[in-house]
Point group: none
Chain length 215, copies 4
DNA sequence: AATGAATGAGTTTTCATTCAT
DNA sequence: TATGAATGAAAACTCATTCAT
């Protein structure tokens, strides 16, 4: 059912980095599927195909592993965002690229949506106060702010858009679809997980945001 | 700390309706704060100030109680929506009223956001297949569809807006804010739970949706 | 090997007082035989012939049970001491009665010696700060102080004996024998647990203390 | 907090004797602070600043290390006692020197008290049957017996004192104070670990024993 | 001789649920 | 209808010990 760790590289029988990476990946899946409280340490270890106690050896306890997973998840998406080199594109293209990336990243990494929301359940207790995280997002805000400024100057975007407000709206439109995909499918009797529905939604989000940007 | 049940009506020692209502309310809070797996049957009973066994007596088990809570939650919001009498308003006003209602309802009933998302964690297992629920939302779709049709006819809305797509977008903009309010506050170093931030967000959502409707 | 709980009284199938008492007694033995860290919650429950989880139901956790055991143990010995009615005896007789009681109580309740010493291992963390305990021992000090005063006045005891100092010495002579009975037996190759050795020791302690009192 | 091993001599990368000594010292502290069952192999290794596996390499297992610690502890105190050269002193002086030594040794080596008592917890399982240990204590008994004989002959001591009985009493008065110092402090609300209390106690013990010797 | 990784058995604790009254 | 006592399965976590290098 759940995806399993690849076989341990046979030439290295003891490979702490590999072990830790396996655990992190398995934990990421478990936590995103079941949340912090629903996740089972046993299952994480099994999924990672490592001895359960190594989890404690390397991460201390379940909660610390959870924190490590969260941190890694944020780092990954923000790193991927920075690779987009949005500053090199014209503002409208940059913005669309950002929207598309956000939507597509979640399509490919649905675990991330669940992870963030579960962390919210805990009132952000595990990420609150992380200097790293705040710095990461200060850069994000500046990046979006830069695109908006260029767009305004060029006359392609409306004036006075708050970058954080905009970011939250873009994120809303992308994340909510996945965070509620099953309940929405159920109540509207529609298979929102299907490829066609997803690409339809993707286009809608792009249109939706653009309507605002250019209003 | 957590809100407690009011004193049991003193003249009735045995009051099944009161007891069930207490349990439902306590469960709603517990489940929304901790999710299905994180919620504790003990805590629900304590919160409801009734004996734990009564929970089993009236609802069978934890999961059935969860289903009852979910169903009640959906019923409440949809009932409130129907009370808005949107069909009696001009389309633009009707739509704004709907947006405002959606946002404000979540502001006042944050538990609902958490509840839906937790249910999504379980792949909507508990609501999937409920005929009642689907009927309820068919009415919702028709209601929104009617407003859109009127607006298009009057020339105040753009043409060809899919009512479900639009509903999901409005919901996205409202729900996501609350479903991620703590994590967003943490990463952006901003107190999004403050009254001023909330009303600022409310206005942004209204503007955002209107830009699309009128584009 | 270990002594077992008597059968649960057949006419009462659910008897919380009985259950708690069983647990306390079983715990007293386990803790005195193995110390706090060496004791096994499983073994305590088995000894008490009750479900292991009742231990948590009634006492919260292992450590709280330990505290309850300690408190009860102190209460018991001090209560027994008060029953001696030392104030009604002439000072020399009172003192001898006290010495004999102390020695005999430990002979019959060896667990108590082990318990105190184990608690000392934990730097008295579990009893420190207990108002009850201090009050209990204030009474003890006054009682001994009273006997000493009477004895001094009557000229049968030397003057200026500090009651706490004396108490500690009496306790030393009684407790140490039992707290080290096995090691002493081993190094001196003598069976100090035998009845004859014990009564020989008892007399020695009486003589030893009296020599000081009358010096 | 806990005292740490001194830096490993830099010129020797591999130094079995040093390593073993470090382990023994660390183990002595750990065992005396926590007992056999409470001690953690991990902590011992950390304290000794050596790899945990070396503990197994040199001592086999936790329990064997415990035995080694016990043996060394007994050897040390008995060796120090023999260095007192009690036979060269007049009997009263010799006895006082012995009492003082016993008390002072424990003041400086409190771990020893805990060690013996913990071993008693285990019914002296680890020292029972050791020929070395018995020989060691046969010499001790003879030494005390010699002093007593000389004292009796000189008329400074009472007659018919059993050397083992006396030894146990002296030990009682010295050991008990330390084995119960925290609990006694707690119940009597007195800081018995303070220097002033200790020297007061020391004098009391001397007086107490002398009263008996000369009775 | 020395090291860090890995393991399995065991230990405390949690928790939904049922029993007996 | 209501209650507190009792239960068993499972969960997180600990710990001495061994493996591989």
């Amino acid at each position: 059912m759940a995806q399993r760790a690849k076989n341990r590289p046979s030439d290295v029988q003891r490979n702490p980095e590999w072990t830790k990476a396996q655990l992190l990946e398995a934990a990421r899946l478990e936590f995103s599927e079941n949340g912090l409280s629903g996740a089972r340490v046993n299952d994480i270890a099994e999924r990672a195909r490592v001895n359960k106690q190594l989890l404690y050896y390397y991460f201390g306890d379940k909660e610390s592993l959870y924190v490590a997973v969260l941190k890694q998840a944020y780092e990954e998406i923000r790193a991927r965002e920075e690779e987009l080199n949005l500053t090199e594109l014209p503002p409208a293209a940059a913005m669309n690229r950002f929207i598309e990336f956000t939507f597509d990243y979640l399509t490919d990494n649905r675990y991330f949506v669940a992870l963030l929301i579960d962390e919210n359940f805990h009132k952000a207790r595990h990420v609150r106060g992380s200097r790293d995280l705040q710095d990461m997002h200060t850069r994000l805000r500046k990046s979006i702010g830069g695109i908006l400024a260029r767009g305004e100057r060029d006359g392609v975007f409306r004036a006075d858009i708050d970058p954080i407000e905009l970011y939250i709206s873009i994120a809303s439109l992308c994340y909510f679809y996945y965070s509620n995909i099953h309940t929405l499918s159920a109540i509207f009797g529609r298979g929102l997980s299907e490829r066609s529905e997803i690409s339809r939604r993707r286009q809608h989000v792009i249109d939706f945001v653009n309507a605002y940007l250019k209003a």
